[in-house]
């Protein structure tokens, strides 16, 4: 019986002998496919599926959300190294654990590494992508862990944890949590917490432990045994120090500061002081981009079109002021209306070019007002601009100032038409680097500024695909046809131009390797002008089978 005791005729519980006992797997297999019980009837949960939206990439750097998961967690079966080319040399920049075990080290020549390990997976390093990922991690840190975070060098992050770790249950637990998070995202990491950025930087890279937490004031002692490179010194300073026999950070402590600055440079002294806490070194935090957003909460719920238009107008005025202060222009906006019944309605509109013209935006929004369903009333409205671009004052030509005959701006019209038929329905045709006629054009956004085509004679209308001509009489190899039949009608040619030979694009497919089209412009007896082509040059057989096609029409 169903829960609650309600009984319906024909319900599954009411069927004869429905679900008598749990059938065994052999019984199920014996049944035909359509009679087998569903997995729900067997009270079996279906397998967990990935959430459809979680795997999507978040918008780049916009919301500071978690970085996308790496597609596959790296399992190093083959030794893998990353190389970077500098001049004529290829240098190893990173090596996987397997490669490290085999003795490959970052900094060695790639040729050397290849010679040492025969079965080596060598890939190009991509420092830009690394940096982008680190930037996103820093943004995530700002969003979730601490307001002050920044990228340190090319391989680390600085987090200013003052007054934030207690939110995570102390420094120890915060570090463990951070490591877990990074492992989930696909990274290994070492973390050091110290009183100065310099000491934390050194201990995280040269300390050796996964988590190092220094008590306050212990920076100098902790760094005694670290190599000098831990202090972020310039390469010249490092070579000079090795010449003087200075290898560890502790070696610098007893040295008098004057001679030290003279021999290793003043920056060395500054770095040392920064690491020991004698000189302050502030972290320049990354500031996440805040999406412009304005909101109006209403005293009374509204429902009439006039009231809604009024509020939208006020919101747009607020948004324009906000955009003006930040030097931005709007490309896309989302208007969200919170109704009394708790439902939220979202309406989006976009512009073809960044703008903060209030009247134009109001007109765009007004085109969408009719799609709002106020129902019992709207109690709050908000306008966000998820896509903005920088918009500053632009130079105009002096001739425009004097003459006043300026070319009008069509961007507002494009927006208006896009609101009517959709953005894809507005386009320009721009050239593409190809001699094959149907490939020489492509669509581009309506505000593109394209260049032209070469001035070969071209028809004004092109058939969607070339149509085969019947009973063609033509002299080979390079004369236009004398007569042909197209769409059931015979034509007698009185004049012709050509041939214009167009070769196939051998880099696209094997079939086009030798293919040739000879195009002719012909005029038939009644004044009709056509664009025809013959496949093949009329001499070599592999260039085509000498069949004739109609491709376009001249006026």
């Amino acid at each position: 019986m169903p829960k609650g005791g309600g009984w319906r005729p024909g319900a599954r519980g009411a069927r004869d002998g429905a679900l008598p006992a749990k059938p065994t797997q052999t019984e199920i297999d014996a049944l035909p496919a359509h009679q087998r019980p569903t997995s729900r009837e067997l009270s079996r949960r279906s397998e967990s599926a990935e959430h459809p939206f979680r795997a999507m990439r978040p918008d780049e750097g916009m919301s500071g959300s978690a970085p996308a998961r790496l597609h596959t967690f790296p399992v190093w079966t083959r030794p893998t190294i990353l190389i970077e080319r500098t001049g004529q040399k290829e240098i190893v920049t990173a090596a996987c654990p397997v490669a490290l075990d085999l003795g490959l080290r970052p900094g060695m020549a790639a040729a050397h590494a290849r010679a040492l390990v025969p079965d080596l997976d060598v890939r190009e390093a991509d420092p830009k992508a690394d940096r982008a990922l680190l930037d996103r991690l820093a943004l995530h840190a700002v969003g979730y862990w601490t307001p002050i975070a920044s990228v340190a060098d090319s391989d680390g992050l600085w987090l200013d944890l003052s007054g934030t770790t207690h939110l995570f249950g102390g420094e120890e637990r915060f570090c463990r949590r951070l490591l877990r998070f990074l492992r989930r995202v696909g990274f290994t990491a070492t973390i050091a917490i110290a009183g100065t950025p310099g000491a934390a930087h050194a201990l995280a890279r040269y300390g050796g432990a996964a988590i190092t937490i220094l008590p306050p004031g212990a920076e100098s002692e902790a760094m005694v045994d670290l190599p000098l490179a831990a202090l972020r010194l310039a390469p010249e300073a490092l070579t000079a120090a090795s010449r003087f026999g200075l290898e560890r950070v502790g070696d610098l402590y007893p040295m008098p500061r004057g001679p030290l600055a003279k021999r290793l440079g003043l920056s060395t002294v500054t770095r040392l002081d920064q690491a020991r806490g004698a000189v302050a070194e502030p972290i320049v935090p990354v500031i996440p981009f805040e999406v412009p957003r304005v909101e109006r909460r209403l005293l009374e719920p509204i429902g009439t079109a006039e009231a809604i238009t009024q509020v939208i107008g006020d919101l747009i005025d607020d948004m324009v002021t906000l955009l003006q202060a930040r030097g931005l222009g709007l490309r896309a906006a989302v208007l969200s209306c919170l109704r009394v019944d708790g439902q939220e309605q979202r309406i989006g509109f976009g512009t073809a070019r960044a703008t903060r013209n209030a009247t134009h935006l109001k007109r765009l929004a007004a085109m969408r007002v009719e799609t709002i369903e106020p129902d019992l009333g709207i109690e709050a409205m908000a306008l966000t601009a998820p896509r903005v671009e920088e918009l500053h004052a632009a130079m105009i030509a002096a001739a425009d100032l004097a003459g006043g005959d300026r070319a009008p701006d069509i961007a507002p019209l494009v927006d208006q038409l896009a609101g009517r038929v959709g953005e894809d329905a507005l386009f320009r045709i721009v050239p593409r680097e190809s001699d094959v006629p149907e490939r020489a054009v492509r669509r581009a956004p309506a505000l593109a500024t394209p260049t032209g085509w070469p001035r070969w004679k071209r028809p004004v209308r092109l058939l969607k695909r070339p149509e085969l001509l019947a009973s063609v009489v033509a002299l080979l190899p390079d004369h236009p046809p004398r007569r042909f039949v197209w769409r059931g009608r015979p034509y007698r040619v009185v004049a012709g131009d050509g041939p214009e030979r167009i070769h196939g694009e051998w880099w696209r497919s094997r079939r086009e390797m030798w293919a040739v089209r000879d195009y002719f412009r012909v005029e038939a007896e009644g004044g009709e002008r056509f664009w025809l082509f013959r496949r093949g040059d009329g001499v070599e057989a592999p260039t085509g089978d000498l069949s004739w096609y109609m491709h376009g029409l001249f006026g």
Binding site: D409, L413, F427, I429, G452, P459, K464, V494, L553
Partner: protein, 258 residues
């Protein structure tokens, strides 16, 4: 006015002068008409050219694709001449896109001068054309439709005179042997364009294309038909050079008469 006219059968010279100045003022407000630059054509048009704030209709002489191409090029040439200042743009609204842009460039409509709007049906195309006209930022609008009734053309004509933008309404053939210009319309001019045999060259090759253009109807003017040479690369038409034995004789006769 009627009372004044009732005084005498013929209007006075002052009244005529007033009317003329009113008409001239109205025409000056609409902007100058775009002349074809061909005397035989311009002199027979009521405005001595195409009104820069009005609706002009054109259609192919027959339903063949060749006449269709000729009518398209005729429209493109006019649009190119409307948009011949740098930075000006035209809108080409249509439902089925089979234009070939390199061909349009060869009558002066480069890809930087034109953008296309593809609607799903004729009503959308007409609505977009009207938006474009009222906006006033375009040099010209070309709309390709299969059907547009009197109301639609009236709307377009009003929008064109509001936005001071010309529109070329290209009516495509719906059936084989019914001219689309049979339907009533409130266009300023209505044209029918067809292909004509080109001049034979003394060597092998196709000469400059020729079209037979027919002005089916115009406001305050008479219909006529003419054979012209097709648009050059700036969209200008030309008159074909008359055959020698016909061109010379009447001129001499005139000289002798004078």
């Amino acid at each position: 006015m009627p009372a004044e006219f009732a005084l005498s059968d013929r209007p006075h010279a002052e009244q005529l002068a007033v009317l003329r100045t009113q008409i001239a003022a109205a025409q000056a407000e609409r902007g100058p008409a775009l002349a074809f630059g061909i005397d035989a054509l311009d002199s027979r048009l009521a405005d001595h050219g195409l009104d820069g704030a009005g609706l002009h209709e054109l259609a192919a002489a027959s339903s063949t694709l060749n006449d269709d191409a000729a009518a398209t090029l005729f429209a493109a040439g006019i649009a190119a001449r409307f948009a011949n200042k740098p930075g000006f743009t035209i809108l080409w609204a249509l439902t089925r896109f089979d234009l070939y842009a390199p061909g349009l460039e060869q009558v002066g409509l480069g890809p930087d001068r034109i953008f296309y709007a593809q609607g799903r049906k004729d009503a959308e195309v007409l609505a977009m054309a009207e938006d474009g006209l009222r906006d006033g930022s375009l040099a010209c609008v070309v709309a390709e439709v299969k059907a547009a009734d009197q109301t639609a053309t009236r709307r377009l004509q009003l929008a064109a005179s509001d936005g001071k933008t010309p529109i070329l309404l290209y009516r495509r053939h719906r059936s084989r042997d019914r001219c689309p210009l049979e339907q009533p319309s409130s266009a300023m001019t209505r044209w029918r364009i067809g292909c004509a045999p080109s001049t034979r060259l003394p060597y092998a090759g196709v000469g400059r294309e020729r079209w037979s253009i027919e002005l089916v109807r115009q406001r305050s003017g008479n219909p006529f038909s003419l054979e012209v040479e097709a648009c050059d690369d700036t969209g200008r038409l030309a008159l074909p050079a008359a055959a020698l034995h016909r061109a010379v004789a009447p001129v001499r006769a005139l000289h002798q008469a004078a």
